[in-house]
């Protein structure tokens, strides 16, 4: 049937791309754990991914915490549950909004930058030049970025958690008239280690996914500027979708009953 052909072709192409990505990821992870390791390059990527993402992640977190407190107040006031706001803010930020929003922001900032940089290196033969200089591009370009993504995202999210909770605190105290001591006590009493840990695990996975998709699409980009542009778009879109999918599975792993 002619209608089945494009569906089948699309499905086969999806399977091929999945296999290709899996092989790429396996090769990259293998190079992350086998010497030689490049500490200087890992440090440089940690600064690029972690330090330079702090402003955008911090701003996202503080406004998210502020909006969350404000929205929860207007909703919870309908059934006199305003006292649950500190709990809602801290749980939402640490479990969900901190890692997911930081992940999406980093996907836009870092994933795009990685894909554009590696993609440009591919189309200008710089990756071929690395190879001819007996330097494995996976070790030199990809492993440092994956290691930096995996390690810096949890730190970024931990900072985002603190800033987000602080945003909720500021709005609750100065706008909604909460008692500062009671607000902090409720926040600290209610939050559990598992809430924070699940968020940090998500952050590590998202950091890996963002850098992996940036590297994968950049490394396999073709053509000239158009190819690099397409690689950048694909890196951000695929990383964002994967973040939302993996968010569900990790939540299921930690909290499903």
């Amino acid at each position: 049937m002619p209608i089945l052909q494009p569906i089948g072709r699309t499905f086969l192409r999806f399977l091929e791309a999945t296999g290709h990505l899996s092989l790429f990821a396996a090769t990259a992870v293998g190079h992350c754990v086998r010497p030689p390791i490049y500490p200087r390059l890992i440090g440089r990527q940690m600064i690029a991914i972690g330090y330079y993402s702090l402003p955008v992640v911090g701003l996202t977190a503080i406004f998210t915490g502020m909006v969350l407190a404000l929205q929860s107040y207007t909703g919870f006031a309908r059934f006199s549950a305003e006292s649950a706001i500190p709990n809602v803010v801290v749980i939402s930020i640490t479990r969900e909004l901190g890692p997911v929003l930081a992940g999406l922001m980093v996907a836009g900032r870092v994933g795009a930058a990685i894909a554009a940089e590696i993609g440009t290196m591919r189309v200008t033969e710089q990756i071929d030049a690395l190879d001819t200089l007996a330097t494995n591009p996976f070790k030199y370009l990809i492993a440092p970025r994956l290691i930096a993504g995996l390690t810096m995202m949890p730190i970024l999210v931990l900072i985002a958690d603190i800033i987000g909770v602080f945003g909720g605190y500021v709005v609750s105290i100065y706008k909604l008239g909460f008692n500062p001591y009671v607000y902090l006590k409720h926040t600290i009493d209610f939050v559990e280690v598992q809430d924070v840990v699940s968020g940090l695990v998500k952050a590590g996975v998202f950091g890996f996914l963002v850098t992996l998709m940036g590297c994968y699409h950049g490394y396999n980009s073709k053509g000239g500027a158009e190819g690099v542009g397409a690689a950048t778009t694909n890196a951000v879109v695929s990383a964002s979708i994967l973040i939302l999918c993996f968010n569900y599975f990790i939540t299921e792993m930690f909290f499903a009953r």
């Binding site: 940089e117 440009t120 290196m121 200008t124 033969e125 710089q126 071929d128 030049a129 690395l130 190879d131 001819t132 200089l133 007996a134 330097t135 494995n136 030199y140």
Partner: protein, 259 residues
């Protein structure tokens, strides 16, 4: 007495991209210390040939031997060991944008030969001097260089590790005739000083005549003529004659689509 074994020996090389056959049973020998230039039109597969030898592309079939060792399918440390014999000047120079010029030149020394950065920088500045670049250029970014300077930096990087074999991919393309001649002279000087084997690809006949000991013409995926540079004008091969004289009429038909 038998002839000495070639430095590079290629037999029956086939490489296609989907239905497009680029190399179709190519045979080529490059002797020790010899400078061979492969000529051919755009899209004839010259760059693909170099990339197959370097292992950047994998041929479907055929054999490539370097110093008698089969290199097709080599991977890991064994491939790195073979690659350390090579230096390459890319058509666009392919300098690393994120590194200053001196670090580009010293890259193979720091990453491949594991030399100390200070020692590598000293060697890099020496090599830059050999191609006519002062130490002040070493601190510039590749983006600040002109086309001719980029080629010189690329050449300095290609010779920095004192390789046994150097590849030149369209070394004069995009340069004015005077700068092209400067690059040709530098190539001859560097190759002679190192005693290296050189394999170049170009469609610039002035460059080919100047840097080659032997010229080979690639057409339709095969080497259709090879011989000393002095014999190219009397090759008796219609394809070679059309190419070296740059005539539109002849057995080589360019695929030109009507607008």
């Amino acid at each position: 007495m038998s002839a000495p074994a070639p430095k590079i020996r290629i037999r029956g090389l086939h490489k296609s991209f989907k239905k497009n056959v680029v190399l179709d049973g190519l045979d080529l020998d490059v002797g020790v210390g010899e400078s061979v230039v492969v000529i051919g039109g755009s899209g004839s597969g010259k760059s693909v040939l170099l990339k197959c030898i370097l292992g950047l592309l994998r041929p479907e079939s055929g054999s490539i031997e370097v110093d008698g060792q089969e290199v097709v399918g080599l991977a890991g440390r064994e491939r790195d060991r073979v690659l350390r014999k090579f230096g390459m000047l890319f058509q666009s120079a392919a300098l690393f944008d994120s590194l200053p010029v001196w670090e580009n030149v010293a890259f193979g020394l720091i990453q491949g030969a594991r030399k100390d950065r200070d020692q590598a920088k000293e060697i890099a500045l020496d090599k830059m001097a050999a191609v006519g670049l002062g130490p002040e250029v070493g601190e510039l970014s590749p983006a600040e260089l002109s086309g001719g300077m980029r080629k010189r930096v690329g050449l300095a990087r290609a010779i920095a590790t004192a390789p046994e074999i150097i590849f030149f991919d369209e070394p004069t393309t995009g340069l004015d005739p005077i700068m092209g001649d400067v690059i040709n002279d530098l190539i001859i000087k560097c190759v002679r000083e190192l005693g290296a084997t050189a394999l170049s690809i170009t469609h610039d006949m002035t460059s080919a005549r100047k840097i080659a000991d032997r010229i080979a013409m690639l057409y339709d995926g095969k080497i259709i003529w090879a011989g000393p540079v002095a014999e190219i004008d009397s090759s008796g091969n219609a394809y070679v004659e059309q190419f070296i004289h740059g005539r539109a009429e002849g057995p080589i038909e360019m695929q030109v689509r009507a607008i």
